[in-house]
Every structure is written in structure tokens, then in C-alpha cells.
């Protein structure tokens, strides 16, 4: 066991954990932030995507220890004052979710892609969603929501 510390959604967080603890376990089990989901646990589905120092990563495929000292942003940190982030609002507006299981990962991936790619088009959005799987929506409305949010955030 050893103590690791990082900043999660702007607040310091630390815990005494085993070296084999995954970042997603740290976030969900130590911090109780259960917005980040585990869909596959095999690096495929993207339900667990969070931002580490501003970059989208799969938190099921990273050790918590690798994030020592890092700034983590989870879905809970996107709307700190209760007002939905433009990407969240666009998902609601465009019906970009059904069961909602994939949604936290979809939204964290979307926020990352909008930041990196200023002039998103449909093809690019679909390509960028390569690592996020949705079992419900068929993706069309997710793509619409991301394109709308990217316009809005310009």
C-alpha cells in the first residue's frame, strides 16, 4: 500500500491504495464518483473515459499510481455549478442517449475532441468515436449532439 495524490475535479484527492488499483477504481470506489462507468474492462468501450491532464484516456487501462500528481476531470466535474456543460446540454437536446450507460464516456470523449479539432465534420466525429461503444442509440444522435455542441462552443 502507498499513498497517492492527485487533483480530481479541482479538489485534492488522496488515498492509501494497492499499486494494482486502476484509476477507475480509485475514482469510483475511493472517491465515490460513480459517474465514470466500467462497461467492458478490456479497453474497448470507452465508458470509463476521463481526462488526465487535459487528455481523454480510458481509466480502466491506467493505474491510479500513473496519475500521481495529475489533474483529473470526470463527468461530475463538467457541470460544477449544476448548469449543464454545452456538450451535456446538446446530448439532452438531440436525444444523444437512451439508457445512458455509455454517456459519461461519450461526453468526455466529445469534450476532448471539440478542444483538439476546431472544425469538426461528421466524418471526423465518427472516426474520433472509434473507441466508444453505444449499444442503444445507433450513434446518429450522438454525432448530431457533438456537432451541435462544437458549433455552439466555437
Amino acid at each position: 500500500m502507498s499513498v497517492i495524490s492527485m487533483t480530481v475535479n479541482g479538489k485534492p484527492a488522496s488515498a492509501d491504495i494497492e499499486a494494482r488499483t486502476l484509476l477507475v477504481q480509485f475514482i469510483r470506489e475511493q472517491l465515490g464518483l460513480t459517474g465514470t462507468h466500467v462497461g467492458c474492462d478490456t479497453s474497448q468501450c470507452g465508458a470509463c473515459v476521463v481526462h488526465v491532464d487535459g487528455r481523454a484516456v480510458k481509466s480502466c487501462t491506467m493505474l491510479a499510481a500513473q496519475a500521481e500528481g495529475a489533474e483529473i476531470l470526470t463527468i461530475e466535474g463538467l457541470a460544477p455549478n449544476g448548469e449543464l456543460h454545452p456538450v451535456q446540454a446538446a446530448f439532452r437536446e438531440h436525444h444523444g442517449l437512451q439508457c445512458g450507460f455509455c454517456t459519461p464516456g461519450m461526453i468526455m470523449t466529445a469534450v476532448d475532441m471539440i478542444r483538439r479539432i476546431p472544425d469538426l465534420d461528421e466524418e471526423t466525429v465518427r472516426e474520433e468515436l472509434e473507441g466508444n461503444i453505444c449499444r442503444c442509440t445507433g450513434y446518429h444522435n450522438i454525432v448530431k449532439a457533438i456537432l451541435a455542441a462544437s458549433q455552439e462552443m466555437r
Binding site: 494494482r20 486502476l22 470507452g46 487528455r55 491506467m62 493505474l63 500521481e68
Partner: protein, 265 residues
């Protein structure tokens, strides 16, 4: 995952010392292959030596007629690098096509070639571009580095520091990707440069990445897609799995080689 001890050294010297004193250590880079392997309990290292904190291993530098890339440089950084795009656009495009954005934010060049997955992309680039692999112990030519499926010339405790990619005159990589895993069903990297002409194939060979001499000779006489159009590899020795038969992969090698030569111009 089994238990292990975790270390995050700040310098290469510290990493080497830790590797030397541990029982059965493993280097951790981006973790995009190693962590899934640990989760499946396919490996049981005593110690994980995380090289992600070593700043000297994370760089891209163009110098003379080559680009040098640090072993711990992430795929996303190679894909976006102005230097790589300028001198070696085929390499930047290859990096941009690995996995998905989250995988590219973590996965590293050194991890990819050390792992030498038979369907990985970077090994094809190294072999086709006559890359030089610098380790803590020596310089290894790409031709000597890849030894078979998941096997390389690396010895215990040897860390890849950087890879030198000489600029090609012409190059392109074409990958027919598995739609589920994004790995190459077959990927073909063709190049023309100071080293002559090379054709490297990933995804197809049971022993990992390999060169196709017959295609190289044909392209030396006539650099055009037609030159390789009638060269078929024997299916024997190629991968067969639920995604495709050996015959299918043999066919794809010719198709991807043609497309790569066309794209290289």
C-alpha cells in the same frame, strides 16, 4: 491483477538500477498493452518500473536527414508533430491510425515495438524505413530487432531510448484494419530512400512483421502499383483466425501493397 511493486523513476539511470535489482521486473510505458495483459493475469511481474515519468524519453527532434523520437513519446504526439508531418508524413499518418484517441493519448512508440504484436503498426514503419533503435545498451537495426511474434532482440533490463527514422523520399502505409480491434488485418508500408526500396508487412505473418523481397525488386525496376499487382504471397506461414484465412490475408497483402505504392506517388 496479481500484486506487484510499483516504481516511477525520474531518470533513465534510476530506471536501469531498479530493473537490475528487481526479481522479475517489467517496464511500464503507456500501459495500453501491458495493463490489459496484467488484468488477464497473463503476466506476474514482481515490479513495474514506470518509465512515464522520465522526461528525456519524451521528445521528437528533426536533425540532419532523420527524425529522432523518444521511446516514451505518445502516438498522438507523433501524429500531430509538425516535424514528423513535414519529413515523414507516412509515419505521422500511421500513428494517427493506431487504435482510438484515448489509446493514442497513452500508448508509446517504445511500448509498441518492444511488444511486437504481429498486428501492430509501428513495427512495419521501423522495418520499411530502416529505423535505428537505440537502447540503454546498444544500437539495433530494425532488420535485427523484430525476432518473431511478440519477440524482439531486447535483453532483460534493456530499455529502448529512442528510434531514429531517416527521411524517406517516398513512403506510404496502407492498413486494412480489423473493424473491432483496429489492429491491422494486413498493413503494408512501402518506402524509397537512401536504403533502397522496402516493403514491410504487418498483420499477416505468423512470425510478425516481415519484408517482401520480391515486391522490393519489382518496385526497384518499376515504381508503380502495377509492378506488385501480380505478386502473390503463398498462404503458408500466414495468420489464420476468425477474422480471416491465410489465403485472404495473402490476397490483402497484394491489394494493400498496390494501394500503398499508389499513395506514395
Amino acid at each position: 491483477m496479481y500484486q506487484f511493486n510499483y516504481e516511477r523513476p525520474k531518470t533513465l539511470a534510476d530506471a536501469e538500477a531498479l530493473l537490475a535489482k528487481s526479481d522479475d521486473p517489467k517496464i511500464l510505458a503507456g500501459g495500453q498493452t501491458l495493463i490489459p495483459t496484467l488484468k488477464q493475469r497473463l503476466a506476474m511481474p514482481s515490479d513495474l518500473i514506470d518509465i512515464g515519468g522520465i522526461k528525456d524519453l519524451d521528445f521528437i527532434r528533426a536533425e540532419g536527414d532523420a527524425v529522432m523520437i523518444g521511446a516514451a513519446t505518445r502516438h498522438a504526439k507523433v501524429a500531430q508533430s509538425a516535424e514528423v508531418k513535414k519529413h515523414n508524413p507516412a509515419l505521422a499518418a500511421l500513428a494517427a491510425g493506431i487504435g482510438d484517441p484515448a489509446v493514442r493519448h497513452m500508448g508509446t512508440l517504445g511500448g509498441s515495438i518492444a511488444n511486437n504484436d504481429p498486428a501492430a503498426d509501428y513495427p512495419a514503419a521501423c522495418l520499411a524505413l530502416d529505423a535505428k533503435i537505440h537502447t540503454t545498451k546498444r544500437l539495433i537495426e530494425a532488420d535485427e530487432f523484430f525476432k518473431g511474434m511478440f519477440e524482439t532482440a531486447l535483453q532483460d533490463g534493456e530499455i529502448i531510448k529512442e528510434v531514429t527514422f531517416p527521411h524517406p523520399e517516398k513512403a506510404a502505409y496502407m492498413k486494412f484494419r480489423n473493424p473491432a480491434s483496429r489492429y491491422a488485418m494486413v498493413g503494408v508500408f512501402v518506402s524509397k530512400g537512401p536504403w533502397g526500396i522496402r516493403v514491410a508487412v504487418t498483420g499477416a505473418g505468423q512470425n510478425g512483421v516481415f519484408r517482401v523481397k520480391e515486391m522490393e525488386e519489382a518496385l526497384a525496376k518499376n515504381w508503380s502499383p502495377d509492378a506488385v499487382a501480380n505478386i502473390k504471397l503463398p498462404a503458408k506461414g500466414l495468420n489464420a483466425d476468425l477474422h480471416g484465412s491465410a489465403e485472404y490475408r495473402a490476397h490483402l497483402v497484394t491489394v494493400m501493397a498496390k494501394r500503398a505504392v499508389a499513395a506514395a506517388g
